[in-house]
Amino acid sequence: MSGTVVGAGINRVDGPRKVAGAAPYPSDFNVHHQVHAALVGSTVAAGRVVRIDTAAAEAAPGVIRVLTHLNMPRLERGPMTALGASPPPPMQDDLIRHYGQHLALVVAESPEQAAAAARLVAVEYERTEPLLDVLDPKAPQVIDPWGTDSDRGDTEAALASAEVKVTQTYTTPDNTNSPLGLFATLAIWDRDRLTVHDTTQWPSMVKETLAAVFEVPESSVRVLVPYVGGAFGAGLRAWQHVILTVAAARLIGRPVKLVLTRPQMFSCVGHRPDTVQQVSLAANRSGELTAIDHRTVSSLAMEDDDYEAVSAGSAFAYRCRNVVTRDVQARLNRPAPCSMRAPAEGQGNFALESAMDELAYALAMDPLQLRLRNDTDVDPRSGLPWSSKALRECYQVGAERFGWSSRDPEPGSMRDGDWLIGYGMAGCSYPWYSVPCSARATVSRDGSALVLSAVTDIGTGTYTVMTQVSAEHLGLPLGLVRFDLGDSDMPAAPQAGGSGLTGSLGNAVVDACGRLVRRFAELAAEDGESPLHGVPPEAVTAGGGRVHVKGESSRGESYIDILSRNGLPELSADGSSTPASPEDLGMAPSGAFGAKFVEVRVDRDLGLVRIARVVSAIDGGRILNEKTGRSQIIGATIGGIGQALFEDTVTDPGTGRIANGTFGDYLIPVNADIPDLDVVFVGEPDRFSPIGTKGIGEIGLVGIAAAVANAVRHATGRRVRSLPITIDDLL
């Protein structure tokens, strides 16, 4: 194996199709005889449907059927998934749990007819007072929802006797994932066989869910998603609109297509839940942390679940003997939250790393030195050494590239005309996550390879990096390898999410390729005519389109020759990966680590905040493709800037309506808001995972909001503890 294919910053293999407009996204699919659906949402946040009048809609041109809770088939809730319960089945009763809840689905011959008729559905409500505020004492609370709460040492005593202490409350708002691609579902029934084109990050899960809900064999359900127009976590669930579309197609006997509107993208496919976080830090005068206490209340839907352990990361961020973390979720009459890029860490890190900065001021200590002083090589929860951790190197390399040493610690001391200049930084991590995955590798008689797994590429580069991994492990040039995905008929695979896919899938692909090489070696070993006759398979490796004796590349033969002589059209092997147990390996599996350095400029009169520079130093373990890896970090950094300065999904007090559900009103950064972003990868391949990666999908976002807030504090002397940081905070 050459070892030069993996790691190289090759261009995306799917790039030409994407820029040519030839890559079909879920909303691009159409089939003969299809009809179109439109949703009717509740315009109250809590209560009951007293009457729903569909007569006008049913009489409207082109309308085929209007589904409501009155005529919707009774459905079971989908199965448990690796990320928790399925959403509750839609339109099963008259109860209203949030504004925008699906109350009717109108199916018509054209999308325009369906949308127009949807406006004609008249609903009469019995309203009750909605619970909308995360701190509302009437909101039902879920305590320690995932068993992640931590208790170490005696935090109360350590805080009481602290030499230096910081206690503050930090808040983060709802953010909405806002992928460019509107979520779409096209459901096609053929008797009891179901094909669905769907915007999802997890085809295997959608297949299992639809099979369970519609009571058909899993082998009869096929979910297709070759391209995803972004998702950022919104595609991790089989949402209610998917179930409704599939149900409608079955009832009507024609394929049904539904494309959500942009406002519906704010209420139907999840969002980052808002949080109120209280953080207390204690330290001795030399800056050693003596206590961390991090308590979060975050919002949750009235009848759905969300994995969002906001405080949990504070239990292993620093060396500290006394730690308390608490997570509580408050059930509200708001749309269901779900993962949004860097779920939990995105909010929790803002609070912890803002508090660390406040502690640095209280200690009159450089914020970078404070972090270095409290860095830890072991996981403080278990005491096991991290499988890899180059956070110290992140701090050092990042600070060097940024020029941190030129920072004048005095707030407001660095200026450029009306602009106040601030330097801020934050440390960050994203926890390890890995689940089983499978893949299949095939080499055909022409010597080309096809490698398959039912994963998705949500823009991260999965097509590309897995082509590289496959090529390296099969000893083939990139041009002879195709990696394909996005089809639940392929080998079962987990979600593209949690920064876990590249490791899980990469190890499965390596396993499949290794097994396939071994099959070729076994065929050759048994074959008297092969130069590898009698060579034990474990002594054989692949390279240059051939299998050959390790260290002796001249002794071997090509895939083509082996297949030809055996009269085989192709040879395949299935591979899989299962994460090892930390205890067995005697180390704590590491996620990615990073250090973020930000320069902001704040207009001293107008309160304008501009990001001037960002340096992200990332320990992501082994980087499979330097270019797509860098793009991942850049994209997530922009998301972090959005979180820091712009993104704020506003719920109307009283009505529970989302007040800014359009791209004109919900601000995400535009190009002009983004300076050149410097990304540097440091560290070594991780020891825990055979492929050595750590997953870099989220780490680019984590820490940006805190680094921006810390830079604003340095520029202006003002500490903003509530995101996003806007002009009104700085007047």
């Binding site: 315009t43 009169d605 109307d652 009505t655 007040a659 009103d665 535009v670 002009a672 806007t726």
Partner: protein, 329 residues
């Protein structure tokens, strides 16, 4: 599906006749506001009269004024040499509005008639909106009004007029040319709009069927100093939190003429005449600028969510007065 008639007019008189004859008819120019509102179910005209083929595009210098045809696009006007030379504040305001794509479609006449961005007005599911449903109340007042008006606003309506272009135009005493079924008339742009506090549902003095055919912009005197400052959360493609269009004629250390328009604060593009009077006769300086800014917003009507705009608008105006006059902080 909601259907409507579509007619393409070739003569101004035809267009005016067609729309005047039907109460539910409306003009269609660039469509950048109109079509959005139709898709959202806020507007439902029975007939659209497409005026984009009418001979109303282009600019013409007429003495010390620039006549701008109503169908001139925002990008075209921004590129006009007279505008660049004699009306730099107009050019700046144009280029800070919308996005290039929208500016290539949106017309000057349409820009002046753009509807408020208020999300309570733009969502027909919101039951309270005195602009959409007169007498129903104002949901924005009870909601989240950060992007709303503080001048010419009250509990009946706080809808903001979001045009950037109109801000320098009211300051410059631009004149709107109107063609109606019975003839032509002209009106000062600053008299053209009504206040939301007084008539939420009627936004201007146009009678149904009247068509804006052009805008006449008096040129600034040679040597005038002018500029437009727009303050917003992100760098592009966002409406103003506050903005200021300023033109000053200064000689011998005294301000002889001052023109001030404020954006992002008013239910109509706001002309700050009292602030102008405060400046004329004074030497340019931070103290005079602050006095003028205080006067400019003295009648503000605020809610907790909009109160910050009173301070921000003053700072925005002071900054732009400083910038154009070259007065150091």
């Amino acid at each position: 599906m909601r259907s409507f008639e579509y007619v393409r007019a070739t003569e101004v008189s035809d267009a005016v006749r067609l729309v005047s004859a039907r109460p539910d008819a409306a003009y269609l120019a660039g469509g950048t506001t109109q079509l959005d509102l139709m898709k959202d179910g806020v507007l439902g005209p029975g007939m659209l009269v497409d005026i984009t083929r009418l001979p109303l595009a282009g600019t013409e210098r007429r003495g010390e004024a620039l006549h701008v045809g109503a169908l001139t696009t925002m990008e075209e006007l921004a590129a006009d040499p007279t505008v660049a030379e004699r009306l730099p504040l107009v050019r700046e305001a144009l280029l800070k509005g919308a996005s290039t794509q929208l500016r290539n479609m949106a017309t000057i006449g349409g820009n002046l008639l753009q509807r408020t961005r208020c999300r309570y007005f733009r969502d027909p599911d919101v039951p309270k909106c005195n602009k959409r449903l007169p007498g129903s109340g104002c949901a924005a007042v009870e909601g989240v009004p950060r992007m709303h008006a503080v001048l010419g606003a009250n509990e009946r309506c706080i809808a903001l007029h979001a045009s950037d272009l109109a801000v320098p135009l009211v300051a410059l005493d631009a004149v709107v040319h109107i063609q109606g079924p019975t003839g032509e008339r002209r009106i000062l742009l600053r008299d053209f709009y009504l206040l939301a506090s007084e008539s939420p549902d009627v936004e201007n003095h146009l009678v149904h069927g009247e068509l804006i055919t052009g805008v006449e912009i008096p040129l600034l005197p040679a040597g005038a100093l002018s500029g437009y400052l727009k303050v917003r959360d992100r760098m592009s493609y966002e409406f103003a939190l506050t903005s200021a269009a300023v033109a000053l004629v200064i000689s011998d250390g005294i301000i002889h003429e001052a023109r001030i328009g404020l954006g992002g604060v008013g239910s109509r593009p706001w002309r700050a005449l009292d602030a102008e009077r405060e400046l004329v006769g004074s030497p340019p300086g931070t103290e005079a600028f602050r006095r003028a800014a205080r006067v400019a917003v003295q009648d503000a009507w605020t809610l907790p969510g909009t109160a910050f705009k009173v301070e921000l608008a003053q700072r925005c105006l002071v900054r732009e007065l400083r910038t154009v006059s070259g007065v150091a902080a």
